[in-house]
């Protein structure tokens, strides 16, 4: 008699991910789906998908999903949340979406203490358009639009979203995690669970920033890409809890 000890979460569809080898999206999708299964809230969930590689997240998640325009996910989530105060609403966004074109929507949803959760995928690059400089691209990082390496003198400095938002009164849980090791992946899942629980308790705005890999657009193998998270990204974007209201 065999026993199931590991299976695909019910909140994920049977469709294989289209993501590149070594991309972190599939991993974080799975963590989100596991948490939603564990909390038993799939029937009560409305997700907001971004513009970017995760634009087709609705094909993988088995709960209601609304696709937002680039950067507008927090505003769309606000509209859903205000219309359906008893539902669970989260947005899933990348760095270009959340920290460049959607900066105003992000900051003001946070400032309002909107009772939504945001999963923020920070992989320091625009993935879907083929690897352009993102608001979180590290100084010196080569991308299609910073071909000589990001020069802060002409191209500015990266945004530290958790640090920025922690200056506001609205957010109640802000944390930065990574998916470069098994312990960090476990911490990421715990952080997502905590953020979602905060919303379920009506505590207000929460955001989990996840440092992720984009091997294709970084021009690296999946293993080198994971190493880059550890060696280059974590020193620049320190992991930890930036705000936690009890």
């Amino acid at each position: 008699m065999s026993e199931v000890i590991y299976k695909k979460p019910d909140s994920l569809s049977d469709k294989p991910f289209h993501y590149c080898p070594g991309c972190s999206h599939g991993l974080v999708h799975r963590l989100v789906a596991e948490v939603i299964d564990e909390l038993g809230i799939a029937d009560n969930t409305v997700a907001v998908a971004p513009v970017g590689c995760a634009v087709t997240a609705d094909e993988y998640f088995r709960f209601d999903t609304v696709q937002a325009a680039h950067g507008r996910a927090p505003a769309v989530a606000t509209g859903i949340r205000r219309a359906l105060p008893d539902r669970f609403v989260f947005a899933y966004q990348g760095d270009g979406d959340l920290a460049a074109i959607g900066t105003a929507e992000t900051v003001h949803a946070a400032a309002r203490g909107e009772n939504i959760s945001i999963i923020f995928i920070n992989n320091t690059i625009y993935g879907m358009t083929g690897g352009q400089m993102a608001p979180t691209t590290l100084p010196g990082q080569v991308t299609q639009t910073s071909p000589y390496g990001r020069d802060p003198y002409t191209q500015g400095y990266p945004l530290h979203i958790c640090e920025m938002l922690s200056a506001l009164n609205g957010p109640t849980f802000l944390t930065r995690t990574a998916v470069d090791s098994v312990p960090h992946i476990r911490e990421t899942k715990k952080a997502i669970r905590k953020a979602f629980s905060y919303q379920l308790q009506g505590k207000g705005f929460s955001l989990v920033e996840v440092l992720c890999a984009c091997p294709t657009n970084w021009g690296m193998s999946p293993t080198d890409a994971v190493r880059r998270i550890t060696e280059e990204m974590i020193p620049y974007y320190p992991l930890g809890v930036y705000k936690e209201e009890v």
């Binding site: 634009v55 609705d58 505003a75 769309v76 509209g79 205000r82 929507e105 003001h108």
Partner: protein
Amino acid sequence: MSETVLMKGNEALGEAAIRSGCRHFFGYPITPQTELSAYMARKMPKIGGTFLQAESEIAAINMVYGAAAAGVRAMTSSSSPGISLKSEGISYIAAADLPCVIVNIMRGGPGLGGIQPAQSDYFQATRGGGHGDYHLLVLAPNSVQEMACLTADAFNLSEKYRIPAMILGDGTLGQMMEPVDFSALPKPVFAEKPWATNAMGGRRGPNVIKTLYLLPEELEATILEREKKYDFLRENLQRYEARFTEDADIILCSYGITSRVVETAVRELRNEGIKAGIIRPVTLWPFPEKIFKQVRPKAYLSVEMSMGQMVEDVKLACECRVPVYFTGRTGGIIPSPAEVIAKVKEIHREVCAVV
């Protein structure tokens, strides 16, 4: 029983929205529509509704997108420059076939323009405004009473046909006070929304609201399907007011506040023995083409507070069988009856000359 009160157009519009079951309003301040936001800010909290002042017009329209996707009656309002900002979201709402009501209390443009009334967003409203093949249902009131009644219609029609509706008013209609009878409001007719992304509890599977189709054949199919709806609306939803058209030599076309000026001008012209008539489109999209097939004037005159935008639709509707003239003022100036009369007399000399 009549419920007549004296109200500003912007406030009457807000009251009509509330009476039509709208409980979600997302705004951003801009003159000359701000009274509407202020009215909603006062009323919504008292009836369990949501008034939210967004960080921008872009955020406000995307909140409407979210609320409409969730299945509630949602509304936003702005004035010309703000509608340009909303155009991104309006395109997405149209692409997702979501119902909502968008109010444009027009002011002079382009750019920041001015804060006085104008009608220079006609192209933006009737041609879509944002990117892609889409239309809005565009309703043009010409009184405070119609501001209220057409708002109620806009919610019902938008929901019935899953098309965003726009109330296209102007600064005068928004700011002026007139008696309005709320008992004359069309009753709300709520449509079933099995498509709403309101969480799947009780449903077999998830609902998805999306606008991305990476396969061109798939995208084309959604556009062709939507076009069928547009064709149905073009055939069945044309609204207009036509007066003195049977024997008219010159028919004046105008909408909104300009039609009130034209009304005065046409009475005066008739008193002077000039056979002038009126066609006042109430739906700007779909444009009321049918009435133009039933009348036989010697010329049309489109009177607008712009450099002449609706004049193109008049030419298309009458298929240029007779000359189509334009007169108007722009930049925030309302044409006077005297200016309109002078133009009609000039046309009359050209097209009705006794040989």
